[in-house]
């Protein structure tokens, strides 16, 4: 391991030697300062609680585990005696509705959705288009509940249902719900509710301003706002720029190592050539890792401080981006060993990345077209087959991005919002996405190791 860490440290020196990484770090800090200037002011609970409770008409069957959305029928939820203390909100919840409706809703919530139906969900027009399209969203049909099942619903079930509703719609866990004893009115029941951290929760509407309050942007929900910042700006634009810069900078590492007069110095030391190359490869990942730590770690920290919403899962973007770069860097390494040219490594790596991006985009588009009942246009069958095949056999560059988007969504959006989003995107599996990319990394590195081991000098 001593040699491994020695080469890692050597790569670190090499990575921080040029001015480019400092330019990137300055840009990152600049972006973080902009994030730091965002101000989130929670809207008053008196105004927002009724809106929140109106969304309780939707629930996730199977105790919140189902992939579809169901809805309560004939049940109303109202708040009174609202108190706010910091981010915490306390209030009295009144559940009212038709006879036994609440019990039936809770009983339905406990059961899996047996039948579903597809509802048309309007999709905003794409850039350059004006017409809305529709998309199928799967809804649970009213879940049949027998009289016995309704009667079997206990007070504990009701409390669990309510806690789940707050988790699903507000993203708040550890909700305290206590049934208020008293004369049981079949049409009205009251609960004391304590929502810790509600006003900094992902679904709570906020007044957003930038540059420390100097420019007011308006009311936004916290979660979707953070989702856009994290997914589109940090993990989208920021990560894209970081990847391109990292490919260009690190493309010189291997050619520098194997150039005449340099390689001899290293391979005359007691270290195998393949070992040297693999260690150097990992060393090259340091560049993107450093940028990722600053970008993602910094964004997470700054947005957490400014919004009060902490989502540790977002930090997964650091290894995810490093892994994405690992795929590109394995190509760069392979090309560099075969050609000894940094320029060739840059051109072929970025070219390959572009091909993967195009295939990923085409696959996404193809999936969207196939999901539409009446798509505005159709591709020939061979085009779908070709895209599916290419997507199947090539590294899942785009899918890694989609997976990170999903992780970001899980940390920022509510379950119901995610169910709606899931309907609009096809999220790939972790195993095949990471596995296939890993297989390509191994393939490219094996080729590079073979070439370096068999060449003279």
């Amino acid at each position: 391991m001593t040699r491994f860490f020695a080469i890692l440290r050597d790569s670190y020196y090499e990575a921080v030697d040029g001015y480019v990484i400092y330019v990137m770090l300055v840009l990152s800090v600049f972006l973080l300062l902009i994030f730091a200037s965002l101000s989130f002011t929670p809207e008053p609970a008196e105004a927002e609680l009724p809106k929140l409770l109106s969304r309780f008409v939707l629930y996730i069957p199977e105790r919140g585990q189902a992939k579809v959305v169901g809805n309560t029928q004939g049940v109303d939820f109202a708040a009174s005696e609202i108190e706010t203390e910091g981010a915490e909100v306390r209030f009295r919840l009144t559940v009212s509705g038709a006879n036994e409706s609440f019990r039936k809703a809770v009983a339905g919530w406990k059961k899996p959705a047996e039948h579903t139906m597809k509802l048309k969900l309007p999709q905003p027009p794409k850039p350059g288009e004006t017409e809305f399209t529709t998309k199928d969203l799967e809804f649970a049909l009213p879940i049949p509940v027998s009289e016995e099942e309704a009667r079997a619903v206990t007070e504990t079930d009701k409390i669990a249902f309510l806690q789940n509703q707050f988790a699903v719609h507000l993203g708040v866990r550890n909700v305290e719900v206590t049934a208020i004893p008293g004369p049981v009115d079949e049409k009205k029941q009251q609960f004391e509710v304590r929502l810790p951290g509600a006003r900094s929760s992902r679904a709570w509407p906020q007044q957003l301003s930038i540059f420390f309050g100097s420019i007011n942007i308006g009311q936004v929900p916290l979660g979707p706002t953070l989702y856009i910042v994290q997914d589109q700006i940090v993990n989208g634009l920021g990560a894209g720029i970081s990847l391109i810069v990292a490919v260009i900078i690190t493309a010189f590492f291997i050619p520098n190592m194997i150039r005449k007069g340099s390689l001899d110095l290293l391979i005359s030391k007691p270290i195998g050539r393949s070992q040297l190359l693999i260690y150097k490869y990992f060393g090259g990942l340091i560049f993107i890792f450093l940028l990722s730590v600053v970008n993602f770690g910094g964004s997470w920290l700054v947005l957490g401080i400014r919004s009060g919403h902490w989502d540790p899962a977002f930090l997964l973007a650091i290894p995810m981006l490093t892994f994405t770069f690992a795929l590109l860097y394995s190509i760069s390494t392979c090309v560099a060993v075969f050609t000894r040219s940094a320029i060739a490594a840059i051109i072929l790596t970025l070219g390959f990345a572009f091909v993967l991006y195009v295939v990923g985009q085409a696959k996404t588009l193809a999936d969207q077209i196939r999901a539409l009942e009446k798509p505005p246009f159709q591709w020939p069958e061979w085009a779908y087959t070709g895209i599916d095949t290419l997507n199947q056999i090539l590294p899942r560059y785009k899918d890694l991005d989609k997976l990170m988007g999903q992780v970001t969504a899980e940390g920022t959006l509510t379950l119901v919002e995610r169910r709606f989003m899931d309907a609009a995107t096809t999220v790939p599996g972790w195993g095949e996405t990471v596995g296939l990319s890993l297989a390509y990394i191994v393939l490219f590195l094996s080729l590079a190791c073979w070439r370096l081991s068999t060449r003279d000098g």
Binding site: D10, E14, D17, D264, I267, S268, G272
Partner: protein, 325 residues
Amino acid sequence: MPVVSTRELRKQYGRIEALAGVTLAVEPGMIYGLLGQNGAGKSTLVKILLGIVHKTAGEAEVLGEPAGSVAVRRRIGYLPEDHQFPGYHTAASLLDFYGQLYGLTRDERRKRAAEALEVVGLAKRKDSRIRQYSKGMKQRLGIAQAFFHDPEVIFLDEPTDGVDPVGRKEIRNLLVQLRQEGRTIFINSHLLGEVEQISDQVAIMHRGQLIRTGRVADLTRQANRYAIGLAPGQVFPVEAIEALGFTVTAVGDRHEVEIPEGASIDTVLETLHAAGLSLRHLVETKQSLEDVFVKIVDRSDGSEAPRATRIARPMEPLRQSGRNE
């Protein structure tokens, strides 16, 4: 047991035969000079011994193990020709990095790197970036990295390349010191004069073959040729000596006498004595390694013609210029 040995070592680059069956043995504790023109195969031989180049056929061992194995590389040091150190390192950080590759502990690395840099005269610049170094400083650093980890065998390819005369002398002294410590030093060099001064044994390579090996003193000795000097004012009897069958050549205020086969210098001395002349100087003459090298290479090429008449650009006097190209 030799520390370096090869048997019928061959290396083929396509149609070009870089090594055509090289067999050699280097004994421990000596400075071994490998001489040859550009393209003679010197660097290829060393690179095979270090595992940098793969052999085509034959055998090569270093320190009793197959040449190029990781175990061997731990025990040897190497300074390649035209080396390029990463410019982002300092001398200290580079030796620390290499020390880690050699498996030295932190304390060993610090101690040995400091000592080595002191020895090569880089102690004051050890924290400067290598990209700021002159060629001579890089060469000194190259030598430091070749011996700082206490290797048993050190391979040096043009070790004094780019170093000023004072620095060259320091490097020669260092190599002699390393030999005295029991290390074996294998030098590839064009600088025949320097190799001549410090090598115990030399080998001359030409067109991928070893065409002559031997001790420097043996190679440069000119049998049956003496330089004779007489007392001031006395005239050397050239005609009388030549009449006896000797060849006489005036060299400054002395004369060189070549003794023919079967004759003896005693005949010349007796003649001088009989003529009442007083002998002040009598030395068996030697030729320079450069002369030996040129003669051997020319002979190997099948020509005894003077080299300067056969090449477009005459070779500079090697001892003065320090290079033959």
